[in-house]
């Protein structure tokens, strides 16, 4: 895999105590990378460093071996979709999309093509505030893509949409990006969104890159406790509980709820709550040491108040300090 967008030890010092980076990342041409992290983790700072809105205190950004670290945003040719879209309210849809295009006879055609790409053909003369949230998001995408940037940056692109719309928009967004074939980096704090949209995911926490990998790699082989618990649901077991599930020594055991099942022997506990989701149910079980964990099982697998034994079908073993041994 040859890197198209290279981020080398990029760093930003906010205050004496708050530092983002140094972060190093390689992104291949046409790849979609999700930058996943909790709020305040520095993922938006990373995006703004890439766009050029913030100046890095160290490190290097390059695209196709061209150093862009000191290039101002206007000449970077990075398209950006902002969290609240930042559509110009005084311009109509066509003028918004055409903003980044040079004055040329075929500008209208380019605008029409960009709008066609996001399924908004014929919307040129609409006012921005007349559009629904989903439509605004697509206009923002069309506007960012119209000047044919080298890299597309998306800042929480779906956070302003209601949940029902979000899932559909997510798929459409991925389709458009893949059709254009543009190298994309997007920021999100939602694991599901990162899994759905990203080819690869970079998990970032407190300004540091924790792990980079494909979704299943992060889910099945997290490098530490943070990644294990932030990406997907996870039960954490230590000491006797961990040993009851098959751990040896003092390691920490991370088990996904669907990797636990009720059995005749294993870790004993009492079912305290049952959360029914239709196809299955989450059972909140309290172990004898008062530790609580979740089991995903058939809706009728157990009842509240019942004494149960739980065994694990697959575990993630981490060392005592929560990293991979």
């Amino acid at each position: 895999m040859s890197a198209f967008l290279k981020i080398q030890a990029i760093k930003k010092q906010w205050a004496h105590t708050v530092t983002v980076g140094p972060i190093t990342l390689d992104i291949a041409r046409g790849e979609i990378l999700a930058l996943l992290g909790p709020s305040g983790s520095g993922k938006t700072t990373m995006l703004r460093l890439l766009a050029g809105f913030e100046t890095a205190d160290g490190g290097r950004i390059s695209v196709a071996n061209e150093d862009l670290t000191a290039v101002p945003p206007a000449r970077r040719r990075f398209g950006m979709v902002f969290q609240h879209y930042a559509l110009f309210p005084h311009l109509d849809v066509g003028e918004n999309v055409g903003f980044g295009l040079p004055r040329a006879p075929d500008r209208d055609a380019q605008v029409a093509a960009a709008l066609g790409l996001v399924d908004l053909a014929g919307y040129e003369r609409r006012k921005v505030h007349e559009l629904s949230g989903g439509q605004q998001q697509r206009v923002a995408l069309a506007r960012a893509l119209a000047p044919e940037p080298q890299v597309l940056l998306l800042d929480e692109p779906l956070s302003n949409l209601d949940p029902a719309l979000r899932e559909r928009t997510r798929r459409e967004l991925r389709q458009v990006i893949k059709r254009v074939g543009i190298t994309t980096l997007f920021v999100t704090h939602e694991q599901e969104e990162a899994f759905d949209l990203g080819d690869r995911i970079a998990v970032i926490n407190s300004g540091h890159l924790e792990q980079t990998g494909a979704p299943d790699e992060l889910y099945e082989q997290p490098v530490n406790l943070f990644v294990a618990t932030f990406v997907g649901r996870a039960n954490v077991f230590r000491g006797p509980s961990a040993r009851a599930l098959g751990a040896t020594g003092d390691g920490v055991l991370v088990v996904r709820p669907e990797r636990l099942r009720f059995a005749d022997a294993g870790l004993p506990g009492v079912v305290r709550e049952r959360r029914y989701t239709g196809a299955a149910a989450f059972f909140l079980v309290e172990a004898d040491d008062k530790g609580r964990f979740e089991v995903l099982a058939q809706p009728d697998a157990a009842q509240v108040g019942e004494r149960v034994y739980v065994e694990a079908t697959r575990v993630i073993v981490l060392s005592e300090n929560g990293t991979r041994p």
Binding site: A51, F53, T55, A74, F88, H90, G100, A144
Partner: protein, 543 residues
């Protein structure tokens, strides 16, 4: 610090110094000169000085009370109750505040003055030998103040009521509070910031008011008229001491009122749902409210209608009749055809335009440096922009007159008095808070990501400014600019101290027309001023 940051910080320093030179330096010069010498002793020993100072204070306080008594109930009436004509009337009530004070004052004179419309009517109806009253002294001043300044309370209270969350009133009722308890324990505390804001504005305006005391005062002097009289008598040292005394009263008054303001708790709680309008159902009361409302509108508009009427009466034809015997456009013809009468009109227009343009440019620079680049001196710049609002216009007029009548380039003092520059400069100082406030507020509301979006689409600094930033700032910019323009156009406070015959503005021409008993021409000037102001404000504050 990068080179770019250094450049911005230097720009911030430059702007702060320029503003300080315009706003603070002249006052410091006056304060320094006033601090030594016989004038100070003279001020303290002359009873007339103390009387004028005391008159300024009590007139201002009484104006606050009167304006509140009228404005607050009006606000409740229009914000909470529905009756025919509510919307039209609600807008009409705000009218006096947007018109130049001098226009309002002469309109008042033509209507309620001793030879005014009403006095004349009563005199004729009762066959009196003399006018039934003389509109003069403190009572007349207070009348004018109450008429024009109740609008501050009306507008502020309405704005406060509109922000009031109906669920808070319902909560109070659910907790067992009756209407009275709700009013005193919930509504009034929540309205406090609005009421204090209105009181501050009224106090400052009344303290700096010049037209009303000048026209109606007679022998009754307040500080503003006292200062101008002393200056015209040529006693500059005493005028300086008086100026400083007035400035001190203004600052102390403002500080006392500020203490009572409290935090804007309504903002902290966020916007709620405004109470639903209560239609007045009982037909008798409804009719009464309608009649009262429209009667009120007539009372409010009457002065301006009178002004219009007087402007249509040619010189010397209207003597003792109730209604004018001749009506034509003679005065307007003279206004626009006689070069000596057209000149003040053009003077006012270009001076107002120039001062507004510079004030807008400075505000724009300040907005960018303070809000976007957050320069180290941002608080200083913001304070300097707001300061001219806190001091009466007469203070600045005297300060500029004294600072810029000496040629001392090393002290940054130049002879500008007597030149065409001094009046626009004075207007500029007064315009800074108006354009500055609007611009800073707009800049703060401007989403920075819009500018970033423009940059990421390849737009450079100037293209971003022209195509994204300025269009977004336009409403705040236009509102501030139109207020500044109208204030400069109708200014009398600074003009009367600083004008020369060549540069005389409309307000001065109105006064001299009045002195020559050319009431028709004075009224015509007033009407033109009123119309230009209304059009400029109408265009400028349109959303």
């Amino acid at each position: 610090m990068t080179r770019r940051q250094r450049t911005t910080e230097l720009a911030g320093l430059g702007l702060a110094l320029l503003l300080a030179w315009l706003v603070i330096y002249p006052i410091l010069v006056v304060a320094g000169d006033a601090a030594d010498g016989a004038a100070l002793r003279e001020f303290f020993t002359r009873p007339g000085e103390w009387a004028a100072l005391w008159a300024s204070i009590w007139i201002s306080l009484a104006s606050v009370v009167l304006a509140g008594v009228i404005g607050i109930p009006l606000a409740f009436l229009f914000e909470w109750f529905d009756f025919p004509g509510r919307k039209t009337l609600g807008a009409l009530i705000a009218l006096p505040v947007v018109l130049p004070p001098l226009v309002g004052v002469i309109a008042f004179l033509f209507l309620y003055g001793e030879s005014g419309f009403i006095a004349r009517a009563i005199q004729a109806a009762l066959h009196l030998e003399q006018a039934p009253w003389r509109l003069q002294g403190a009572v007349a001043i207070l009348l004018v103040h109450a008429y024009s300044m109740n609008v501050y309370f009306y507008l502020f209270t309405r704005a406060g009521l509109a922000k009031l969350d109906v669920s808070m009133l319902e909560a109070a009722q659910a907790l067992g509070a009756d209407a009275r308890a709700t009013l005193w324990r919930v509504i009034v505390p929540l309205l406090r910031p609005s009421l204090v804001g209105a009181a501050m504005l009224t106090f400052m305006t009344a303290l700096g008011s010049f037209s009303a005391p000048y026209i109606f005062g007679g022998g009754f002097r307040v500080m503003t008229t006292q200062i101008v009289a002393t200056k015209l008598n040529g006693d500059l040292p005493l005028a300086m001491v008086e100026t400083v005394a007035l400035a001190i009263v203004a600052v102390v008054g403002l500080l006392i009122l500020r203490r009572t303001e409290g935090d804007d708790i309504l903002v902290a709680l966020g916007k709620g749902i405004a109470p639903r309008l209560r239609p007045i159902r009982r037909s008798g009361i409804r009719r009464l409210a309608t009649v009262a409302g429209w009667g009120l509108a007539v009372v409010l508009l009457l002065p301006h209608l009178t002004l219009l009427l007087v402007s249509l009466v040619p010189y010397g034809v209207w003597t003792t009749e109730i209604l004018p015997p001749v009506i034509n456009f003679e005065n307007y013809r003279r206004l626009f055809s006689e070069a000596e009468r057209l000149r003040p009109m053009l003077n006012s227009l270009w001076m107002a335009a120039a001062s507004t343009a510079i004030a807008v440019a400075l505000a724009l620079a300040a907005g960018w440096l303070v809000v976007r680049r957050r320069v180290a001196l941002r608080r200083v710049i913001e304070g300097l922009l707001a300061l001219p609002w806190a001091l009466p216009g007469t203070v600045f007029a005297i300060a500029l007159a004294i600072t810029f009548s000496v040629n001392a380039p090393l002290q940054l003092r130049f002879v500008l008095v007597g030149s065409a520059v001094i009046l626009p400069l004075a207007y500029l100082v007064r315009a800074l808070p108006l354009t500055g406030r609007g611009m800073l507020a707009s800049y703060r509301q401007l989403d920075p990501s819009l500018e970033e979006a423009a940059a990421s689409l390849g737009a450079g600094r100037w293209r971003t400014l022209a195509r994204v930033t300025l269009p977004q700032l336009r409403p705040g910019l236009a509102a501030g600019a139109s207020l500044a323009f109208v204030a400069a156009l109708g200014d009398i406070v600074a003009s009367i101290v600083l004008y020369t015959y060549e540069t005389r503005p409309v307000s001065i021409e109105i006064l001299s027309s009045l002195r020559l008993s050319e009431t028709g021409v004075a009224a015509a000037f007033g009407v033109v001023l009123m119309l230009v102001s209304a059009v400029v404000l109408g265009v400028g504050t349109r959303r």
